[in-house]
Symmetry: C2
């Protein structure tokens, strides 16, 4: 941690109470003048303070933007998010991470943007990513595993986001196969899992995560309004995007570590517990066509097992489902 | 075809003989002044002419570089190479096509470079791509097929290059699984097949092809000298890179069309006929380890069938083999 991150840590812990300059000076092993310098550094980053002589400093407001220092402080990870690039605007965070990946950057690197001007969704769709309203984030993964298991990573990522949203906001979020996160039947998060292959081997995966955080109802364009929702709409409160991003990355690293060490079984069980699409009548569309039937569960590779109306059981590796019951 | 391409076509057909200005003017439906203008356009592109009054024009020499007009004339394809970008220098033609692919450019687009400053080989290796010596080319494919079949495309690309080299130069080239092209046991061409996935579906593939064309023995760095060879070394002659690139793209489109319409069987048979690594003792290295045994053949997905010394038969989807017998 840098000195200004340590300072921020102290002030956050004080929870709006004053912390004296002397205490800070002792804790951080810096002079009183240096304390004042670091307070100003945090001011530049968008934090606001009250400074009262003999009382010290107290934190009034945190920046509205996603901030690097706050993210690093809130992360409980070894590698995920420890290299984080936060941009005001980019065409697509997926494209940014793709470039980093080809340059050899290591696993866990993250790009976050306040705004994406050409955000990508699944099936070549656009992902609406207006400034300041969401978490638009891409994470580089370099899993040591066979290509056959990529559907497992798709499920794992959705599970991590769903769990982080639930624990951080208390909202009752569920997962629609493979990895849409829904609240009350409306989509609150979409995930785009893109991978690069050499011959038939995985080189890397990029998990793109888009969470609608601080959208008002009026913020949605007409076509999204009936099918999308945000954490602000669901909780009635503004949600701190920096802390939520840190919670997602922390959850993701924990599940990913567990997955690498213990395999997919535990992930599958956790995923099934939050699924809203199992044991229901569904319609799956993908590049190979449309299948109707009942979603029975997921198999050991992460594929969806569907029982068709004629009784035949098939496995579906990717696609989009709609609930028909 | 543009007018200067038509003109070039006439002069190439004349095979070094004079073609009168009047004949050109009639054929191309342009004025004598316009003929002169198009001759100068070709001069700018590196062609050299003799112009003699009352006799007309004859082609003396073609440019030493890979040229767009010559490529378009020599191609016998519908789509492959019809969009071709020819660069003096680029870090990597794979990277260039990746960018085009993400922008939505359609199948068959090609980037060729005189030089790659950071040419990529398999397994993160460098590919030595000095200016003017080879064909450094990447082609965008958007196959409508399951991910499981990507090894088939790897084989198909190697087959196309091997067949084009054989028919264009007469050199006795063979294929080492999956797609190295060898002449007299030395590598003359390497192929890098990279693919992009969304979830578990193929978005596109980029076939990177590097052919050592006009290397002298002295052109090779010490470490490549014992294992690499070029068409110039093997034939004793300079080989026209533009025409060879066109021959490769033509062969590739023909095989790819056949594959899309009739499936992999015919490709597999053609591939096996040119293989130098079947029915021999081999060692395969890939991300999962090292296996020794005899290469028996390829299966319906394009994977290599290996019989281990203990009699067990396994299939290998990707890797690198060395001949041990």
């Amino acid at each position: 941690m840098t000195k200004h991150e340590e300072l921020l840590h102290m002030l956050l812990k004080a929870d709006g109470q004053f912390v004296s300059g002397e205490e800070i000076s002792k804790n951080l092993l810096i002079s009183r003048t240096a304390v004042w310098k670091h307070v100003n550094k945090l001011r530049d980053l968008g934090y606001e303070f009250e400074a009262v002589s003999r009382k010290g400093y107290r934190l009034l407001t945190k920046p509205d933007s996603i901030d690097e220092a706050g993210l690093q402080l809130a992360l409980q990870t070894e590698v995920f998010g420890r290299k984080a690039i936060i941009m005001q605007s980019t065409p697509s965070t997926q494209g940014e991470v793709q470039q980093l990946a080809d340059e050899g950057v290591s696993e866990g690197a993250v790009v976050l943007a306040e705004e994406q001007t050409n955000g990508r969704g699944r099936y070549g769709r656009r992902w609406y990513s207006p400034p300041g309203k969401g978490i638009w984030m891409s994470i580089l993964l370099r899993p040591q595993q066979s290509l056959r298991n990529t559907p497992q990573l798709t499920l794992l990522t959705g599970l991590a986001v769903c769990r982080a949203i639930r624990s951080f906001t208390g909202v009752d979020a569920g997962i629609k196969w493979p990895n849409d996160v829904l609240v009350n039947g409306r989509k609150i998060c979409g995930i785009l899992m893109e991978s690069a292959l050499e011959d038939h081997e995985l080189r890397y995966c990029i998990a793109g995560i888009g969470v609608d955080v601080n959208f008002d109802k009026q913020d949605y364009p007409e076509e999204l309004s009936p099918i999308a929702t945000s954490l602000q709409i669901e909780t009635g409160k503004t949600v701190d995007r920096t802390l939520l991003a840190a919670a997602i990355l922390t959850e993701l690293e924990q599940l990913y570590d567990m997955y690498q060490k213990q395999g997919f079984n535990v992930i599958a069980a956790l995923w099934e517990a939050l699924s809203v699409s199992l044991h229901r009548d569904i319609k799956v569309s993908n590049a190979h066509g449309i299948v109707e039937g009942m979603a029975l569960g997921i198999d050991s590779s992460g594929a969806l097992i569907v029982q068709k109306k004629d009784g035949e059981r098939i496995t579906v590796f990717s696609g989009e489902i709609s609930l028909t019951d």
